[in-house]
Assembly symmetry: C2
Homo-oligomer: 358 residues x 2
């Protein structure tokens, strides 16, 4: 087997998680699984409904509610880029010490993006303030689908790259994360920018292709998984990151009725409890396919992608604890249930790597 | 509104339908809707399970079972290209007068394709016999997905086109139908061949894009719907067919549990009861988007695509009856239920054109 049977690594940081409204049944189910995966720090998405997180006070309140569920996790909070956010709120965010980024959703591109951005122009003063204060801009990097412009879920990320380039040029010191990169083109673009522009990569995009989500609603997410070439580029970005790419799972829990009930399928793959194990799975599969060089999966590469690069980028302390990842440690549950909701994890039923705190 | 409010056309022929096992609950539900749509002739797919239709005797038996459900429909039968089919069986098919084509499924590409074709080479004598006898070769024109070869559901049809070209070159008089064309490249390829090589087009691919099936299991089918450019090419193939393209809905009923139950999503869109109305919807939408010229949707083009071209290609008599298609004639049912099964039609709940026999 190309990977070792265990890895002793610094506690991981997952720089893109959806924990949903707290208090709330999904948050109660999902938040306790962060540490199960070997993760002690998470960057929490603000796209709650019916109201996204748009002020520092709301982020503070949300953080406290999450701490009430699991106080041992370090929650890095975010705001939702929205008309009501002012440069003063950005300065307040910096001063708060708890808000690290502002997430921009293209209007209509994904879950709860109905309050999202059409153009970045109206946010000029806010973006200037973020650049000055070192508050990160987190981008859902897709343009909305448009038949007139030939945009579908398959090229929506590639079509966003000129917008990213425009932001980088206009705000050269702004810290930017292109969230959940899914294409070789996005990986290439991120590599071409300075160290203030990075990408997160999910665990599920390291194994899924368009075929996998076509017939399986639990594999459907935005941005959608794409081609073998794209997947290969993502896998190689993980092991040759050099700080340009780090883990952001975009773990997106949905109640089973949003996946299998009447009506359209909610976008999102739930990966929180086994976030690191999925990455190891995918790297091992990548090696067997020949997508990834066998000697590329070093302890250093894993420690960087899982933990050190993300913390450094966000300016938070490096991990003090370690986790021991062990092959075939446990079987992924068919679903997590409680409080009237049921969430199906990625690769349910498979044997997965376990994480032990040491 | 760019289309007229009614069209008086020859009874339609749907040259690609799935009626499932007969007798059987889905066949009982679906077969009576053929004439509801204004269709009197159908080319019936042989991919039954657990056993496909692989002999003339089985096709005869299947035909009788369908006639027991609705004797007023003319069922053109097909065989499933399979190791057990011999040149003699092809000659028997021709002599029977009831079997018109042999359907080739690439192994693993779609519903019940587990007995399908890996290479056409072993079928040389069968294909020669088909060429001699005028038995049609019906192609599910996709190569199986393969990460190693970079094949996904998005390019599987395009990657099949060299195989089609090879068959056309090797069997220059063989009548070939590339079923359910979904790409501009397939349309272009068909246009480039002689009149013995044609394509069918479904009604749902005239309106769906990849985005539409990504979040809606009732829109998921094989081959999958693709880009706006591809859809535009299909719409224009309908109105400028000149006999190269005709209707084959690939109406594929699945019980709701195969779409929304546990496990993977079955591929197929159920369009039988409103097959012609969906095409008119799509043409009208295509005109409003500017994909289709307003004056292109003539009575002649519709009569050709719906009825005359397909009958001519298969060598069956032209229609003697007429149907009157009328705008906003009825509301599409949320589902059809009976015998313990439930099938959800395409665009459920929308007002659709109705078909009256005149």
């Amino acid at each position: 087997m190309p990977l070792k049977d265990s890895y002793l690594l610094p506690a991981a940081a997952d720089m893109h998680v959806h924990l949903r409204n707290a208090p709330g049944p999904i948050a109660s189910l999902v938040t306790p699984t962060i540490r199960t995966a070997g993760i002690d720090t998470v960057f929490v998405m603000p796209n709650l409904a019916p109201r996204p997180v748009i002020s520092v006070d709301e982020a503070q309140e949300y953080k406290r509610a999450l701490e009430a569920i699991d106080p041992k996790v370090n929650y890095l909070m975010s705001l939702y880029l929205h008309d009501s956010i002012t440069p003063d709120e950005i300065r307040k965010a910096k001063a708060s010490g708890i808000v690290f980024g502002v997430k921009a959703y293209p209007k209509g591109a994904t879950t709860n993006s109905q309050w999202g951005v059409v153009s970045f122009d109206p946010f000029h003063e806010v973006l200037k303030a973020m650049e000055e204060e070192g508050i990160v801009l987190n981008l859902h990097g897709e343009v909305p689908s448009s038949a007139a412009d030939g945009v579908t879920v398959m090229n929506a990320e590639e079509r966003f790259l000129p917008t990213l380039k425009g932001l980088v040029d206009k705000y050269p010191k702004l810290k930017i994360v292109l969230e959940h990169c899914t294409t070789a083109k996005a990986v290439e673009a991120i590599r071409g920018f300075g160290e203030n522009v990075v990408g997160t990569i999910t665990s599920h995009h390291l194994s899924l292709l368009v075929d996998d989500w076509s017939a399986n609603v639990h594999h459907y997410c935005k941005p959608s998984a794409k081609s073998p070439e794209d997947r290969s580029a993502l896998l190689n970005a993980v092991v040759t990151s050099n700080g340009k790419f780090f883990l952001g799972t975009d773990s997106a829990p949905h109640d089973i009725t949003s996946k299998k009930g009447k009506g359209n399928t909610a976008a999102g793959v739930f990966t929180q409890p086994h976030a690191l194990g999925y990455v190891l799975f995918a790297l091992e599969e990548g090696i067997s396919r020949g997508d990834v060089a066998e000697d590329a999966v070093t302890d250093e590469a894993l420690a960087g992608f899982f933990s050190t690069y993300g913390r450094k980028f966000y300016g938070v302390p490096q991990a003090t604890q370690k986790v021991l990842l062990k092959r075939d440690g446990e079987t992924i549950k068919e679903s997590l249930s409680g409080g009237g909701v049921e969430v199906v994890p990625f690769r349910a039923g498979e044997k997965v790597w376990s994480a032990e705190w040491v």
